[in-house]
Structures are given as structure tokens and as C-alpha cells.
């Protein structure tokens, strides 16, 4: 240690040691910079050239975008995306939220039900598509089954109807994702409830003699000073209503 030569070596090692975190984060960070940011820029650049099968560097401005917007296929796809996107979000959130509120009612079999609602998230959408394609098959699927049961006029042939097929995609996608929305809402509800009960203990005024704390109805003035409650009141009110 007393040897100056040794001390100098130590300090080089020390310095290496000090920059080790940066050296460790560096390579993965550079990978992300290249493969995410670099590639997005690359795609953006190629879109401004007249590349075909092979990329060229012939700069053309926004001409490809103009061509794309004029394409019939683009318009159809964009229209479908609007239908799919809005209905998918609407139904997944509605169904997920309702299921979460219902599951939050001290259901004994909550764990089992949650597992059932969420399993579609674990499988590939190719599998989901295969399953629904078979179920909705007009000649052998649910349509023919209902007709065999005696409901002769039952019709559900959306999957082979070019105007309705996109709604079937929504159906399958909602089936796959609504359980996940349920899980998100449920954990949010639980967090709110924890915060709320903690606050009730520390902050709520002593209940008047005639009523007990538990008879304090949602949205009653006795709740009003709980800021976290007022934000979530509509949802909690719904859940307390059924209790």
C-alpha cells in the first residue's frame, strides 16, 4: 500500500470500478439506440425515397405518402382500423370494468374466476383466431348448431360477410383482452380501497352518536373531506351499493 507504484495501479482499478455501472449499461443502451431509434429513423428515411425491393437513396419527398393515401386498400384498412380500434377499446374497458366491480364484492371463488377471465391473455392471437374462426364457421359452427337446436332462422354469418367481418375481429380481440382490463381495474380498486380505509382511520371525524361509521353512505357529507374518495366516488358508490 505504501508503495507509490501500487497506489497508482489501485487508482486505475478504482476508476474502472467507478465507471463499471456505465460500462455495463452501455452495450444494451446502444443496442436500443440502434435497433429502436436508428431503425425508426431508417424506416422514416426509406419512406421518403423511391425504394422498391431494394433500398435506394433516391430522395423523393412525401410522394410515397401521397400515393399511399390515394390507395383504395389504405382507405379500407384505415376505416377498418377506426372501427376496430374504437369498438375494441370501448368493449374491453366496459366489460373489464364491470367484471372488476363484480369481482370486488367479496366473491369466495375470486381467484378461480380471475384465472378463468385472464387465461386468453396467455395464448397467441393466432390460436384465438383459429378458435373463433371455427366457432363462427357458418356451416359447421355456432350458426348451424343453433339452427339444429330448432332456431331455424338464426343467422350469424359475419365472418364470411365482407362488411361485417371486422366486427368479428373485435369480438375475438375483446374476448382475449377484457380479462386483462379486469385485472388492471381490480388492482386499482384494491389500491383505492387501501388508501381509503387508511384515511378513514386517521382522518374521518368521529361519527355522531346516533350513527355508526359503517352506516356512512357513499358520497354523504361525512365522506366529503376525503379527497381520494371524491375522485373515485362513482365507482366506489356502485360497489358499495351491492354490498
Amino acid at each position: 500500500m505504501s508503495n507509490p507504484q501500487q497506489r497508482k495501479q489501485m487508482s486505475v482499478l478504482d476508476r474502472l470500478q467507478r465507471y463499471l455501472p456505465q460500462l455495463v449499461v452501455g452495450p444494451p443502451f446502444l443496442l436500443i439506440v440502434f435497433f429502436v431509434y436508428g431503425f425508426i429513423a431508417w424506416t422514416g428515411f426509406i419512406s421518403l425515397t423511391n425504394s422498391r425491393m431494394l433500398p435506394t437513396f433516391d430522395f423523393q419527398g412525401i410522394q410515397q405518402y401521397v400515393r399511399l393515401l390515394a390507395m383504395d386498400r389504405w382507405n379500407v384498412a384505415f376505416h377498418n382500423l377506426l372501427i376496430f380500434g374504437s369498438l375494441y377499446i370501448l368493449f374491453a374497458i366496459t366489460i373489464g370494468c364491470v367484471l372488476a366491480v363484480l369481482l370486488d364484492q367479496r366473491i369466495r371463488a375470486e381467484g378461480a374466476l380471475r384465472t378463468i377471465y385472464l387465461y386468453p391473455m396467455a395464448i397467441s392471437f393466432i390460436v384465438t383466431g383459429t378458435a373463433w374462426k371455427w366457432i363462427l364457421n357458418p356451416s359447421l359452427g355456432i350458426e348451424s348448431y343453433m339452427q339444429q337446436l330448432g332456431w331455424e332462422s338464426f343467422q350469424f354469418d359475419w365472418i364470411v360477410n365482407r362488411d361485417m367481418a371486422i366486427y368479428v375481429v373485435v369480438l375475438a380481440a375483446v374476448w382475449q383482452a377484457s380479462g386483462f382490463v379486469m385485472a388492471l381495474f381490480l388492482s386499482a380498486l384494491r389500491t383505492v380501497m387501501r388508501t381509503l380505509s387508511a384515511r378513514l382511520i386517521w382522518m374521518a371525524p368521529a361519527p355522531p352518536a346516533s350513527t355508526s361509521a359503517s352506516s356512512c353512505r357513499p358520497c354523504d357529507p361525512c365522506f366529503s373531506r376525503l379527497s381520494s374518495f371524491s375522485r373515485t366516488c362513482p365507482l366506489r358508490a356502485l360497489t358499495l351499493w351491492w354490498r
Partner: protein, 295 residues
């Protein structure tokens, strides 16, 4: 929480009606979620004559595993008639290294970013996080060129590289957010005792990280196994993963449509992730909510 029995309306007719209503809705939903898997399973066990008779929701007359055998080892996908088995093995060979390598990289970079708050650590983390948000279509074209340049186009190695790289964002997110709650004093004390960067990681942090390692492994495995876009874009023929092979099998128009084989193939392709979900669903949900930025 107050005892529910003391709440107003906790007993009597209205309460019972409410419970009935809740349970009816919950069970109806459960039937709707389980319906497709029941239909797929029962169809896969029927023979073609039974399927053509129509009764979609009926149980199979007898347990018939012919379709399963055919889907696994002799169904024709393109010109090859070896069933899903080679593609299933492709997916295994593809997912194991991608999961292991990306989890290891994520653990190390998450560790460095959270417990050694060097200047710019948060910015670097934010920049790395962006990789979780991108739709992968935006990198398909440059990636194809890069894979060709590296000489690993149309190979499982290429897919391993792709999945590892695009997994790093997620694994870093998991580990960084997990280690951020570890007190920095722990690292300081260990440094005082003479432990270095890697020693602290190996002997202190990794033993603490079992839950988040499970979350990261399950998340990565599910993502890589179920992934379709990269597999369909970068591979063809013998190098395809099982999801792409399943899609080709379902959409092949060459022979008589064998719905039972299709359904058995779908279940074979879904089996690994379903098993993981059933065994370790809790960790899967944790990964989902942590990675909720992307469904």
C-alpha cells in the same frame, strides 16, 4: 373495513337478490371465456364425420386422439408433412436463449441503473423504456436488411437476436423498478466491506431477485412464444416458429379441411404458455401490469 354483515342491507331479500345477480353475471362471463377453449378441445377429440354432423357444443362420442397425433407428427404444412413437431422445437430453441439472455442483460442494466445513480441514469432508463412502446412493424424493414447483412436471415439464430434485443426494454424495466426499492445503503455497506460491482450483484442482488426473475422469464417466454410478426416476416419453410406454422396449417387450402387436426394444432401451439399461466399465473399477472404499456 367494516364487517359486511353490519352494513345496511347486508341481510334480507335485497342482499340475496344482489348476490344472485352478481353470481349470475360472473358465472355467465366465465362460461363465455371458457367456451372457445371447450369447443376447441372437444372438436380436436372428434372425428371428421362427427364434426360434419354439426353438433358444435356437444361432447365427443369417444376420446379420439388421432387428430392430435396427426397435428403433432404428420399434418402437411406447405410441402412438408411432418406435423407441428419441427416447428414446435424451433420455438423451443428460439425462446430459451432469448429469454435467458434478455433476462440476464435486463437484470444487469436494471441493477446498474437503479443502485448506482450515475449522472444521466434516469434519462438512459427513459430512453431504453421507449422500446416497450413501439409497434414492431416500424422496425421490420431495417431489421430484415440487418439480418441479411449479418448472414442470419431466415434462421432461428436471427429470431433469437431479434427477440433478445426487443426484450431488453421490458426486462430492464422489470429489474430497474424492482431494485429501485432496495436501499442504497445495502450497496454502500457491501462496498465498504470490499465487494465490487459484480460481487454485489451476484451475491446480494440476485438472491433477492427471485420473484422478479420469475416475472421476467414468464413475460419474455410468453412474448417470444406467442410472437407472430417477426416469425412470419423473417423466416420461411423449416425455420418458422410454431405460431407461423399453425397459421399456415389453418390456412392451407390443398386438402380436405380437417378441423379436428386444426384444433389439436392450435392447442399444441398454445399449450406451453397455458401451462406456464396455470402454474405461475400470479407472476404472469405481475408482468402484465408492470408491462401494461403494451398488451
Amino acid at each position: 373495513m367494516a364487517d359486511p354483515k353490519t352494513l345496511p342491507g347486508a341481510s334480507g331479500k335485497r342482499y340475496l337478490l344482489g348476490r344472485l345477480f352478481i353470481w349470475t353475471l360472473l358465472l355467465a362471463a366465465a362460461v363465455l371465456y371458457l367456451g372457445p377453449i371447450y369447443v376447441v378441445l372437444s372438436t380436436s377429440l372428434k372425428d371428421l364425420a362427427e364434426i360434419r354432423a354439426g353438433a358444435l357444443l356437444d361432447l365427443p362420442h369417444e376420446l379420439n386422439f388421432t387428430a392430435w397425433r396427426e397435428a403433432w407428427s404428420s399434418a402437411c404444412i406447405g410441402v412438408r408433412c411432418e406435423g407441428l413437431r419441427p416447428y414446435f422445437l424451433n420455438s423451443v430453441i428460439m425462446s430459451v436463449p432469448s429469454v435467458v439472455i434478455s433476462t440476464l442483460i435486463g437484470a444487469l442494466s436494471g441493477y446498474a441503473l437503479s443502485l448506482f445513480r450515475f449522472r444521466g441514469a434516469n434519462i438512459i432508463f427513459a430512453l431504453m423504456l421507449f422500446g416497450c412502446f413501439i409497434p414492431f412493424q416500424i422496425v421490420i424493414l431495417p431489421m430484415a436488411q440487418t439480418l441479411g447483412f449479418l448472414g442470419i436471415a431466415n434462421s432461428i439464430t436471427g429470431l433469437i437476436v431479434v427477440h433478445t434485443i426487443y426484450g431488453i426494454s421490458f426486462t430492464t424495466l422489470f429489474f430497474r423498478n424492482y431494485y429501485v426499492s432496495v436501499p442504497q445503503e445495502l450497496v454502500r455497506a457491501a462496498t465498504m466491506d470490499g465487494a465490487g460491482f459484480f460481487r454485489i450483484f451476484w451475491h446480494i442482488m440476485l438472491p433477492l431477485s427471485v420473484p422478479i426473475i420469475v416475472v421476467s422469464v414468464i413475460w419474455q417466454f410468453t412474448q417470444v412464444w406467442n410472437e407472430f410478426l417477426f416469425g412470419a416476416s423473417f423466416t420461411s419453410g423449416g425455420a418458422q416458429p410454431v405460431t407461423v406454422a399453425l397459421n399456415n396449417l389453418i390456412n392451407s387450402t390443398t386438402s380436405v379441411k380437417q378441423y379436428n387436426v386444426d384444433m389439436a394444432a392450435a392447442l399444441i401451439a398454445a399449450a406451453p404458455t397455458l401451462v406456464v399461466y396455470i402454474i405461475a399465473g400470479r407472476f404472469f399477472v405481475r408482468g402484465l401490469t408492470a408491462g401494461a404499456v403494451k398488451g
